[in-house]
């Protein structure tokens, strides 16, 4: 059975900063260490906007994770799909359900903020369907917590360098996912 829901809220950051924070993959396992302790890029086509990653974390001392496909649609859309448990032999919710997410950031010019719209689609067997709201709640909790960590970083950088200052991301030695696309859309706003 299929269940869809959306999470829409406002991020108190200009869109060039919200997108930079998403594409700034170097912080994934450090700032978000409570959720992920390892990221591996399993597959990518050079210069494409699709990568397959394995994301790992520890639960009660056991290392577990998921493999999924990430797709970037410039300038500000991020999709995750084909989520599979990894390793396959460790019991996981992903043996039972299939989750796809589609995150869009839209600029809110009046307030110089970003509207975040996350569309989630969950495929599940009929006997899990009664628990769909619990799944929704868990996904929402994870999203809100990780966004809060990102916002803590964004506010700190804003205090140090000024609102909307993305110069640190634009330095030529600084890596970020799909950097050329980012620079094309957000590289000359200042």
């Amino acid at each position: 059975m299929n269940y869809k829901f959306s999470l829409t809220y406002e991020l108190d950051a200009p869109i060039e900063i919200a997108v930079a924070a998403y594409l700034d993959s170097e912080h994934y396992i450090f700032l978000h260490k409570d959720y992920t302790d390892k990221y591996e890029v399993l597959h990518h086509e050079p210069h494409s906007r699709v990568i397959t990653v394995r994301q790992t974390w520890k639960l009660f001392g056991v290392s577990m994770g998921q493999v999924y496909t990430c797709e970037y649609v410039p300038p500000a859309q991020f999709k995750n799909y084909h989520v599979k448990p990894s390793p396959w032999y460790i019991p996981s919710i992903h043996h039972l359900i299939s989750v796809s997410t589609d995150l869009k950031y839209l600029p809110n010019p009046e307030k110089n903020t970003t509207i975040s719209i996350l569309d989630v689609e969950v495929e599940m067997p009929f006997w899990i369907y009664p628990f769909r709201y619990l799944i929704q709640k868990a996904i929402k909790k994870l999203k809100v917590e990780k966004d809060a960590e990102d916002m803590d970083m964004i506010y700190r950088r804003e205090k140090l360098f000024g609102r909307g200052n993305n110069a640190g991301y634009l330095m030529e030695h600084q890596f970020m996912l799909y950097k050329d696309d980012y620079v094309k859309y957000y590289g000359s706003l200042k």
């Binding site: 450090f30 700190r156 050329d180």
Partner: protein, 132 residues
Amino acid sequence: MDKNNFYSKPIHITQLKPEFVNLVDLEEELQVVVIKKADGISVIADVCPHMGGYLSQGKYCTKSSTLQCPWHGYIFNVDTGGFIENPNEIIWGNLRYPTEHFKPKTTPKYKLNKLEYEIDQDKIYIRRQSKI
């Protein structure tokens, strides 16, 4: 010692935990990380030179005398302040190919902001900087 050249709030050496990332608020909008080792004391502004992270929440390695930023994992030498390693070069290695706007061979020139100080009895006075 001309006290006008120093922050008025001293750091009490006896209150510092050895081989530990001590966070001290000097007020005047300056927080510093103080690391007391057997062979000396390092006082560092609590701002990672990479992206501005809280070094006070970073990992300190006694053996290598290094401090790792909690935001992006960049590692710095506490004694010299020099940038040592970006672990993401391995983690994201197969995506770090050169592009128009990314030059992976460019070495970043990040350096910890180490503050000068003077010790007067059991107190450390931090010398003012023009800009931190």
